[in-house]
């Protein structure tokens, strides 16, 4: 049992030269859902690969010469030593250009950046991960971490919401996650013919869950802000303390080193102080339209 307050993880060190991009090669492209694919990237320089480490929740800046840079959360297993997965949705010019690349192509990568999920603080507690849409990508490294040390955590629940059954991310891994002791539940906003699972929004799954020890439950949430808002409300109504609620926020991250100011959220910068925040650190700013 662990009912002490969840403490923030230590801020990971930033790369020695945060502006330096390293060349990575696309080893594999795994189509996931419509306009979303996972890119398995490997460092060309083996000495970089040998020392590169990230923590769940961190992101990299991917650079396409002549096109630009984009912040992409890392969806890989933190124990990866050869390939690092990045799940990317086509949204703007850089990701559109990325989508045209084939395995073997090279691009630049700098990182990792940002504050991670408080995984170590989840030890001895019930852990609930709530993901909406592509929000499962930044949470997948947490799942890998929890599975690698499953006995350190009590009940682990993953709640996944998507627009349609075809929009559920990483469905091929669900059976393995369940077999490894995760209570995984899915729901969709719109059912397709033949879908026999839940229909409704993901906060409803949390509403239905038994929370025998809310004081000893940690909630990690990533998805559209409206979905996170109602998920957090549900958790608070059930008695989960605010210091146990963490979410991954996102803004327009351009420099990743708190210089350009594009990702400012209230007094914080998402690239440096986030993307993972304790809910009460950013709650007042989530209510301000335009921030």
């Amino acid at each position: 049992m662990n009912s002490s307050p969840v403490t923030a993880p230590a801020r990971p060190p930033v790369p020695e030269n945060p502006w330096l991009s390293h060349t990575v090669r696309i080893e594999q492209i795994v189509p996931e859902i419509a306009e979303v694919a996972t890119y398995e990237l490997a460092f060309v320089d083996s000495t970089i690969a040998a020392t590169y480490q990230f923590q769940p929740g961190q992101f990299n800046m991917l650079y396409l010469p002549g096109v630009g840079e984009v912040a992409i959360s890392i969806s890989a297993d933190p124990r990866s030593r050869e390939r690092w997965a990045h799940t990317i949705r086509v949204a703007g010019s850089v990701t559109q250009s990325l989508a045209r690349l084939q395995p073997g192509a090279t691009l630049g990568l700098r990182g990792p950046y940002g504050n991670p999920w408080p995984v170590a603080a989840c030890e001895g507690r019930d852990v609930i991960l709530v993901a909406g849409g592509i929000g499962l990508a930044p949470l997948r490294p947490v799942i890998y971490e929890l599975l690698a040390n499953r006995n350190r955590y009590r009940k682990v629940t993953v709640l996944v919401g998507a627009r349609t059954p075809e929009g559920l991310l990483y469905p091929g891994q669900y059976a393995d996650w369940k077999a490894a002791g995760i209570d995984l539940q899915t729901t969709v906003d719109r059912a397709s013919p033949g879908w026999l699972g839940n229909v409704g929004v993901v906060p409803q799954l949390l509403d239905r869950m038994a929370l025998p020890a809310p004081q000893e439950t940690v909630l990690l949430v990533c998805g559209p802000e409206v979905m996170m808002h109602f998920t957090v409300k549900s958790a608070q109504r059930r008695g989960v303390p605010v210091e146990n609620i963490w979410l991954s926020s996102e803004r327009n991250m351009q420099c990743a080193v708190r210089l350009c100011g594009h990702c400012q959220l209230g007094p914080t910068f998402v690239c440096k102080d986030g993307p993972v925040y304790r809910f009460d650190q950013i709650a007042p700013f989530l209510k301000v339209e335009g921030l």
């Binding site: 306009e35 992101f59 630009g68 984009v70 912040a71 992409i72 959360s73 969806s75 990045h86 799940t87 990317i88 949705r89 086509v90 949204a91 703007g92 010019s93 850089v94 990701t95 909406g132 849409g133 592509i134 929000g135 990508a137 930044p138 919401g161 998507a162 627009r163 929009g167 729901t187 906003d189 719109r190 059912a191 013919p193 879908w195 026999l196 699972g197 839940n198 229909v199 409704g200 929004v201 906060p203 409803q204 509403d207 239905r208 990533c222 998805g223 559209p224 802000e225 409206v226 979905m227 109602f230 991954s248 926020s249 996102e250 803004r251 327009n252 991250m253 594009h262 993307p275």
Partner: protein, 168 residues
């Protein structure tokens, strides 16, 4: 005078619907309630049919489908343990607005809608508790429906996070 089923009393008093109700209120509702079981795949009620029971789902998953011309039955929602089903039995004329199907074995408490309505009318203290819980349930369902309408995961929706690919 019949002795109330202790399992039914226990099930009802520990349900989210009656949680926190004084025992005297629960004991008034028990005589108009009964436990029901539906095997997976069975129809609990059909759209447009008259159903007189308000259901409190104890366990299992229930699908709510609406018939749409040229699209057939469209599943609009699923309900699970602790949730209410078939409000029209209490609030309306009993004509169901959707078809309810047990997607798994479903255990529920069926409360006679017209007798519950009479009870609420003649006993305002019971009416207050029942209608408060019903309004809470409706409020939650309305919020959830709004979220579905927002189509949050559509990447054409502006101001919606799509982590990992926000570019300007």
């Amino acid at each position: 005078m019949s002795v109330p089923d202790p399992l039914l009393v226990e099930e009802l008093s520990t349900s989210p619907f009656a949680a926190g109700w004084p025992h005297r209120i629960v004991s008034e509702v028990v005589p108009i309630s009964r436990q029901v079981l539906y095997p997976a795949g069975s129809i609990i009620f059909e759209q447009n049919a008259v159903n007189r029971d308000l259901f409190l789902i104890c366990s299992g998953l229930v699908g709510l489908d609406m018939r749409v011309p040229a699209r057939g039955n469209v599943r609009i929602l699923t309900l699970a343990g602790g949730e209410l089903l078939a409000w029209s039995a209490l609030l309306g004329d009993g004509q169901m607005t959707a078809t309810a199907t047990a997607l798994e074995p479903v255990r529920a408490i069926a409360i006679d809608g017209s007798r519950l309505s009479d009870l609420c009318q003649h006993r305002p203290d019971i009416g207050f508790h029942v209608m408060t819980r019903l309004a809470e349930s409706l409020s939650h369902r309305l919020t959830a429906t709004r979220l579905q309408l927002l189509d949050l995961y559509s990447h054409t929706t502006p101001h919606v996070l799509t982590f990992g690919a926000r570019e300007h």
